[in-house]
Every structure is written in C-alpha cells, then in structure tokens.
C-alpha cells in the first residue's frame, strides 16, 4: 500500500518530454475492466461528483414530497410512517451521501492538479473510498423500496431507535450503513492528509497551497477525529439491538444521553467538514473573477483551521434543552459565540476581495457572490441559537431548519455549483453556457430564499420540526404554502443547472488551457488534463504561479514546463511536509481491481450482519481478509521487496 522509496536515482530535469511514453504509463485499460479497476484520481473525482449529484436529486425528490404534504394543513398524502422515513432519508442522503462526497469529488479531482503531483498519495485507497461510499449509499437505500427505510431521523435518538420502539430492520440498515460509510470517510481522509504532507510539487510550501487544500485537509483531520465517535455510537446501538447489550437502555442502567453526546461529538465537526472545503472553493475561485489575489490568505487559512478546532467544542449546543447543568451549557454557548469570529474573518476577506477587485460578472461569480449573502444569513441565525435560553425556544422548530439549510445549501450547494461552472472547462475541455448558468443561478437563488426564509418565521410562530401535518388555526398555513412553492422553484433551478451541464458537455465552447486567466497550477495543463497530469513536475516559487508576471512581487518565477521528468513507471515526487523540498521518488501503484473487491467483501459483511446470516458473515469476513492480504502483499513494482 505504501509507495516506497527509490533512493539511488536523481530525477532528470527536462523541458519537452516524450508525452506518448507518459501516456502509455498512466493511461488506464480500456473497456469495462479498465473502468472498474482505475485508480486515476480524476476518474474517481468525477465519479464522486456524479454519484453525489445523483443522491442530491433523490434527496431533493424526498424534500419535494415532504413539501407537497406540508403545503396545506391536515393533508394525508403521506402516512406518518412514510413521512418519518422520508425526512430521515432526506437528511441522511443530503448530509452523508451528497454534502461530503461531492466535496471529496472536487478535492480528489483537483488536489494533484493544484499541488503539482501525478496522483493522490494512495491511489488504490482512493478507489476504495469511492466504492465503499457508493455501496454504503446503495445499502442505506436497500430497505427503502420495502417501506422499511431508517425512520428515526438522521440524528437517530435512542430509545426511539432501540429495538423496543423500533423493531423493524429500519434502524439496523442505518447503523450498518453508517459503519460502512465511516470506512470510506476514514480512508479518504487519511489519503488527503498524507497527500498534503508528502506529494506537493517542489517549492509548494504550506503557505502556498490553495485554500481549498486547507479546507479539505482541515475537514479530513476533523473527520479522522470525529468519525470514530459516530462509528462507535452506531456499533453500540447495533449491539443493543442485536446482541442484547444495554449501552443506551435506561431501564437497565444505560444512558440515552450517551448517544446524543457521541452523535454530536461527531455531528458538529462534520458540519464544518462539509462547509470548509466549499468555503475553500470560494476563496480560490472568487478572487479569479475579482482579478486579484484573495485578501488575507494567511488569515483565511488559519481561520479555517481555527473553525475546526473550535468546532470540537460546541457539540452540546445541539443539546441545550436536554437538562444538562447550566454551567456546562454556558461553556458551550460561549464557544458557539466565539466560533463566529473565524467565519467573520472569511466573510470580510471575501467582501474585501470583491470591493478592492474588479469583478467579472460571469455565471460562476454570481454563485460565489450569492453564497456570501447566504453564508451571512445562515451565520447570524446560528449566532442566535448560540444563546442558550433563546435556543430553548428556537431549537427543534422551523427556525433551525431555516438555519441549517442556509448553512448547508448556502455554504455547500452554491459554492459547489459555482465550482462546477469554474472547473467544468478544465474537466471536460468545454465551457458551460454562461446565459443558462446565470438563469439557473437566479432561479435557484430566488427559489431558495422563497423556500427557506419564511421558515424563520414559521419557527418563531412555533412550528415544531418533524411533524407530518398541522392544524389550520395555528397560523402556519400561508408560510407553509410559500415554502412549498419556493422549494419547487429551487428544484427547477437545480434541474436547469444539470441540463446546462449536459448540453455543454457536447456543445460547449472549447475552453483552452486557462479560460479564466486563473492563477493556480491546474490551469497550466491541457483541458481535460492528460492521465499523467503534468508532463514534468513543476517547481513552484509563489502562491500564484500563473500570475507571477502580472503581480511581479519578486524576481523569482515558478518553472512549470521544465522540471523533473519521472517516466520510469508510475512515479511522482515526494516532498517534505512544510517546505516541500523533494526527497524521494514515489512509486505509484497501477490500476487494480482489489479496491472494488474489498469494497464488495465489506458490503457483503454488513449485508450478512443485517440478514443475521452466520455463514454469510464468516465467508465475507474471510473474503475481506484475503483481499486485504493480497492488497498488502509486498510488490516488486512498488519497490516493496528487495530486487
């Protein structure tokens, strides 16, 4: 698994290498076998994004069904059971199967291109991360057609989620699916952390990496610390349900609040994991359309890290009404106020970038500028819920639904859409249609605010969350109708965006290498990038390698077209963690079907646990072991055995 060092060679420095040879080395096999075994980060990144968008559409349809039900009072379109499953799966889908995976897609595709490398540090682990994500998504939906989907809310509080109150397979599917997804998140996060530390281009010291990289690595470290809490929680819950343990059962000395602590110790850092990389997208792409470098790069990068550090100290603000002592609530309340400060740093950096720059009104710029406003609205409603006593009123009402959608759609979906418009030419070689892009922005932006702003009002009118219907005389009728209409407008905007992407894929204007005159390394390679990314490994001398002449801050220039030629098999350069000084040549593994097989074996293991199939568990556990052993078997091509 670990690409090992080949120490006795100094890489050749070259200017115009034989790209045919590199292509032969890096290109995947053709056909289905090649498709299933590729470890190319660009391929995996695209799959992540497409799969995540597929789940976004499913989650969106669920939301629309919910909004039809709530458009009028006393409706009976959905039964209470169906409604519980729909809002649960809507949350699970959007939070776990869309929001992080789509950002993993961006980062997987972009990281090696941003960092001047040929692939992620662990290409096969990357493929494993994708396959496990895909299978866990399918697993979580496996009981949906049977009417037995998870139904305890995405937060899944016990004892409602315990066997006594929820005897069907619904919650077991959720518990096992989350264990599986946790594996995907964990290996993906490890890959990002090591990639940042080891495979940047020479000269790309940590103070020169794009902010997206800061966002993703911060999210990844956060995930590595947070995911164990939720995996443990779901495992204990599964044990309670299937093995007769009593971790959460208060009638036998267990503690329901333990679940809430474990869940939110994970849940709140996770919220930052699914927004920080998206904020990074804006911090990198917005300045390009303002024709200047980002204001306060260092402050923004450090505020990214600070947010995550503080993010580990705010989880109890999801539990302000649970009767914990006021002293501890005050601590978490204060932390929740303080965490606004690093967000303020980012907001003022973006606004200063726009104010002191020269905006180019492209479609992508629309998404980023709109995002800033939505970020602030979501931020200030969060600031209101940070106040413990005020939260006693606001929590679990539609006010919180408004808040979390401003945060998750405003800070995740809008930057993602803008990011797609921005990098679409790099990925496909063609520009997206600007006119359709602006139309879809305005439709989505209008629909979004029509749908979610009135929810603040509904919350203050006292409408609780997660109710499948409501009576007419409570004053909730008209706002709910407006919300439902807005939801459909928002959906139309998203559909128009997808339509635009599909049309532009075939008919878009050819883009060239650098259509936006952007500053970072990915724009120095052809669009779409060749399988080897960079013909030679570039040598970086500044934060904005392609703007060095325009900025003219010093005499040094990055060397982009002359650099280390590594063409003795799949190789990239390993550099030191802080200053990115080259120290080793890393041998990279070739295409492999082992990631797919391992993902299948682990999914079979979870499915057997769900079905209580003893022999299924034994055989799939054995298969998992065998595939892992094959994967780890030392290989000559990776220089893991002596010649």
């Amino acid at each position: 698994m670990i690409p090992t060092i080949e120490q006795n060679r100094t890489p050749v420095i070259a200017g115009s290498p034989n790209t045919e040879k590199l292509r032969r080395i890096w290109e995947g096999k053709p056909g289905l076998a090649g498709w299933l075994s590729t470890v190319d980060h660009k391929e995996i990144g695209k799959r992540y994004i497409v799969t995540a968008f597929f789940f976004l559409l499913i989650g969106g349809l669920e939301a629309l069904a919910i909004r039809v039900q709530l458009a009028r009072p006393n409706q009976t379109l959905l039964s209470p059971e169906r409604y519980s499953q729909l809002f649960t799966m809507h949350g699970v889908t959007m939070i776990f199967l869309y929001a992080l995976p789509v950002l993993s897609g961006f980062s997987n595709y972009l990281w090696p291109l941003l960092l001047g490398s040929r692939d992620m540090a662990f290409p096969r682990l990357n493929a494993l991360s994708y396959w496990v994500f895909l299978f866990s998504g399918i697993f979580l939906y496996s009981s949906f057609p049977l009417g037995k989907a998870p139904d305890g809310g995405w937060f899944n509080y016990v004892p409602y989620a315990s066997l006594a109150y929820n005897p069907g397979p619904n919650i077991d599917v959720y518990a096992l699916g989350m264990l599986l997804l946790g594996i995907s998140t964990t290996v993906g996060s490890i890959n990002f952390v090591v990639t940042l530390a080891r495979t940047r281009a020479p000269g790309m010291s940590v103070n020169r990496v794009p902010v997206l990289v800061w966002g993703t690595v911060t999210a990844s470290v956060g995930n590595l610390l947070a995911v164990p809490a939720v995996s443990l929680a779901f495992f204990l819950l599964w044990m309670d349900r299937q093995a007769g343990t009593h971790f959460f059962d208060s009638t036998t000395g267990g503690q329901p609040l333990l679940w809430q602590h474990l869940f939110w110790m994970f849940g709140h850092p996770w919220v930052y994991a699914i927004v920080l990389p998206a904020m990074g997208i804006v911090s990198d792409a917005l300045p390009v359309f303002c024709r200047r470098p980002l204001v306060g790069y260092t402050a923004v990068a450090l505020s990214t890290v600070t947010t995550m550090v503080l993010g580990f100290g705010v989880w109890v603000h999801h539990m302000f009404a649970s009767g914990l002592p006021l002293l501890s609530l005050s601590f978490f309340s204060a932390a929740s106020f303080v965490i606004v400060i690093p967000s303020a740093v980012a907001v003022f950096a973006w606004i200063a970038t726009i104010w002191t720059g020269r905006p180019v009104y492209t479609a992508a710029f629309h998404y980023f500028a709109g995002f800033v406003l939505l970020f602030v609205i979501g931020g200030v409603s969060g600031f209101m819920t940070a106040a413990v006593p005020v939260d006693w009123q606001l929590t679990r009402t539609y006010f919180v639904i408004a808040h979390l959608h401003y945060v998750l759609i405003g800070i995740n979906v809008f930057p993602v859409l803008g990011g797609i418009v921005y990098w679409f030419p790099k990925v496909t070689g063609r520009l997206m249609n600007e006119k359709l892009g602006k139309w879809s922005f305005w439709i989505a932006f209008t629909g979004f605010n029509t749908a979610f702003f009135p929810m603040h009002v509904l919350g203050i009118l006292g409408m609780p969350r997660r109710i499948y219907t409501y009576a007419d005389q409570l004053g909730w009728t008209t706002p709910n109708l407006i919300v439902s209409i807005g939801a459909f407008i928002f959906g139309a905007g998203i559909l128009l965006f997808i339509f635009n992407a599909c049309v532009s894929l075939r008919n878009g204007t050819p883009a060239g290498d650098n259509p936006w005159d952007a500053s970072s390394l990915e724009w120095s390679v052809p669009s779409p990038p060749p399988p080897y990314n960079f013909a030679v490994i570039p040598i970086v001398a500044s934060r904005y390698p392609l703007w060095e002449d325009a900025m003219n801050e010093g005499p040094e220039r990055s060397s982009i077209y002359t650099g280390m030629l590594l063409d003795k098999g799949r190789e990239t350069i390993g550099t030191s963690p802080l200053d990115a000084e080259p120290d080793v040549i890393l041998r990279m593994p070739g295409d492999s079907s082992l990631p797919l097989l391992l993902a299948l074996a682990m999914t079979a293991l979870c499915a057997s646990m769900l079905a209580h199939s003893r022999w299924g568990v034994y055989s799939s556990a054995l298969a998992t072991f065998i595939v892992t052993a094959l994967w780890l078997w030392p290989q000559r091509t990776l220089a893991q055995v002596d010649r």
Binding site: Y157, V340, P359
Partner: protein, 309 residues
C-alpha cells in the same frame, strides 16, 4: 404557539434577548448585503492592467476592522446571554405547586402533587395553574424522548427516560396556552399537544376542588360503566369507579377538558364515539386499538363517559 409575545418571568427576559439578537442579526445581514452589493457594482476607473490589484496584502484592513467590530458585538451578546440564563434559571420564590408531567407516545399525564395524599390527583393533556405564581414541573418519560414546550410561558425542556428533568414556569395573565411535544418521538409526534390554562386563584381553587371529587354511581348509565370496565379499564382509569389502568390517559372528569387525543379532536360526544370506534382513523399509529363494540355498547359507553364532568 407563537412566542413573539410571552407572559411570564420564566420567559420574558428570553424573549427580550431573542428580539435583541434578532435585530443584531438583521442589521448584520443588512450591512453585509450593502457592502456586498456596493462591492459588486461600485464604479471603478477603467484599467488596462491584467489584475485589478496585484498586491497580496492589499485590503487586509477590512479583516481587522470587520472582525474587530464583530468580536465586540459578540462578546456583548454573550454577556447578556449569561445574565439572562442566570435570571431564568430558578423561580423568584418558592413554587406554589409541583406538577409531575409524564410524557408518553403521544399524550401527557399530569399529576398534581401535594403533601396531603388525599389532594393528589392525575389528569391528562391539560394543565391548570393559578396565575401569577411559579410552578415547578418535574418531567418524566414513560417511553422515548419527548420535549415539554409551552412557548408563551417557558422554553423547551427535554423529557428523557431514566432522568427527571425539572423546569418551572409562571403565567402572569389568565388564558389558554398551547404547548406541543418538540422532540421527534415517533409516528404521532405531530399530534402530541397539551394545553395550559392559567386561572385566577379563585377559579383554580374551584377547578382543583372539582377534580378531587369522585364520580358518583349513576343507575341510568350503569351499562356504559360496565362496558368501560370490560373494554377500557385495562388502560384507562376513572377515579372512584375504575381505578386500574395507567397505560392511557386518566379519564376522570374527561368532559371538563377541551380536547381529546392530546389536542386532536374537540371533546364532545360525537367525536368521542368516533374516536372510540377507530382511533387509527384520526391518529394512525396511536397505541389505542380500535374497539369492537356493538352499537348499543358504543352508545352506552359514550353516554357514560359524557357524564364525567
């Protein structure tokens, strides 16, 4: 359920804080929107430069000033929050009354505690309190997590199995205050309302006196009582007549309440009969099964229940 205006010392400081934070929030949005729109559309001198600003550091003072002002406002709000938290943490005086509220899927049991055992009684889905006096409320769950919330009198307090959470409230104005379970608790979470009625001290004393009386036997409705005992008494109690059941709401003085089924139906004989025949029609998933009663039995039991006032 709207809590724009509230009516008691357990909540009024919170409402003021909430409005203040709301105004701060809206002001921030307005200022940022102004800066954003200004930044996007402000006139700029035409320039042939490739970049508008080539200095990495240009504009950093925005961050210092913006973050500096934000921090001052945040700290101010934080201090006010702590003051309010302390102010509402306990009642100003000794509580006049202690109630034990037990939440179940999907209704509320309310027990009026008293040092005198003969003054203890239980009712359901409706709380009467005297106006102007702090009330202590002990919250317990019979099954899953619920949340006790009467927005115009007190913020939410979760009801967690294995734990007794305590909250307090006080109504300064007589009236009917609606509440509703605020934590997802299963299929009928939507239909788990309760009403708090703040009475003048005299009305409250009269109500309490009346609740303590027992239902006298009545030969006219004797058949209905027997049907109740046979079919309903397993889960429901009527004090002095059928004391056994605790799984469902206590029905003593049923007809003095405003609603049936935790706020779902008006409390009148027609709805009562329809509910008894098939609760699942109104509240799918409710733990009360449909009753296989003959027409005569249904009439009798409805008549008898209608006398429980």
């Amino acid at each position: 359920m709207s809590y724009q205006y509230t009516f008691g010392p357990a909540i009024d400081p919170i409402t003021r804080l909430g409005w203040a934070l709301g105004i701060v929030a809206l002001s921030v949005v307005a200022i940022i929107a102004f800066l954003l729109i200004g930044g996007v559309f402000r006139r700029r001198a035409p320039s042939s430069q490739r970049l508008a600003e080539s200095k990495d550091a240009g504009g950093v003072s925005w961050i210092y000033i913006g973050t500096g002002i934000s921090s001052v406002v945040l700290i101010g709000c934080m201090v006010w929050t702590m003051i309010v938290t302390a102010a509402v943490s306990r009642p100003p005086g000794l509580p006049a009354l202690t109630l034990q509220v037990t939440a179940s899927q999907w209704w509320w049991s309310v027990r009026y505690l008293s040092p005198r055992p003969e003054d203890v009684f239980t009712t359901a889905n409706e709380i009467h309190i005297p106006v102007g006096q702090p009330i202590r409320i002990e919250l317990m769950s019979a099954d899953v997590i619920h949340s006790f919330w009467i927005p115009q009198l007190a913020g939410k307090m979760d009801v967690i199995p294995g734990i007794t959470n305590v909250t307090w409230l006080q109504a300064d104005k007589p009236g009917v205050y609606r509440g509703q379970c605020a934590a997802f608790c299963g299929a009928q979470h939507a239909h788990m309302a309760l009403f708090l009625i703040a009475d003048t001290p005299r009305d409250f004393a009269a109500w309490r006196e009346h609740q303590l009386t027992e239902t006298p036997p009545d030969s006219l409705t004797e058949q209905g009582r027997q049907v109740f005992e046979a079919h309903c008494g397993v889960c429901h109690a009527v004090r002095g007549v059928v004391p056994a059941g605790v799984r469902g709401p206590d029905l003593t003085h049923l007809m003095t309440r405003r609603t049936l089924a935790a706020g779902l139906l008006p409390d009148q004989p027609g709805d009562l009969a329809a509910w008894i025949v098939n609760p699942q029609r109104f509240k799918p998933g409710a733990l009360m099964p449909a009753q296989l009663l003959s027409g005569a039995e249904l009439t009798a039991v409805t008549q008898w229940l209608s006398t429980l006032n």
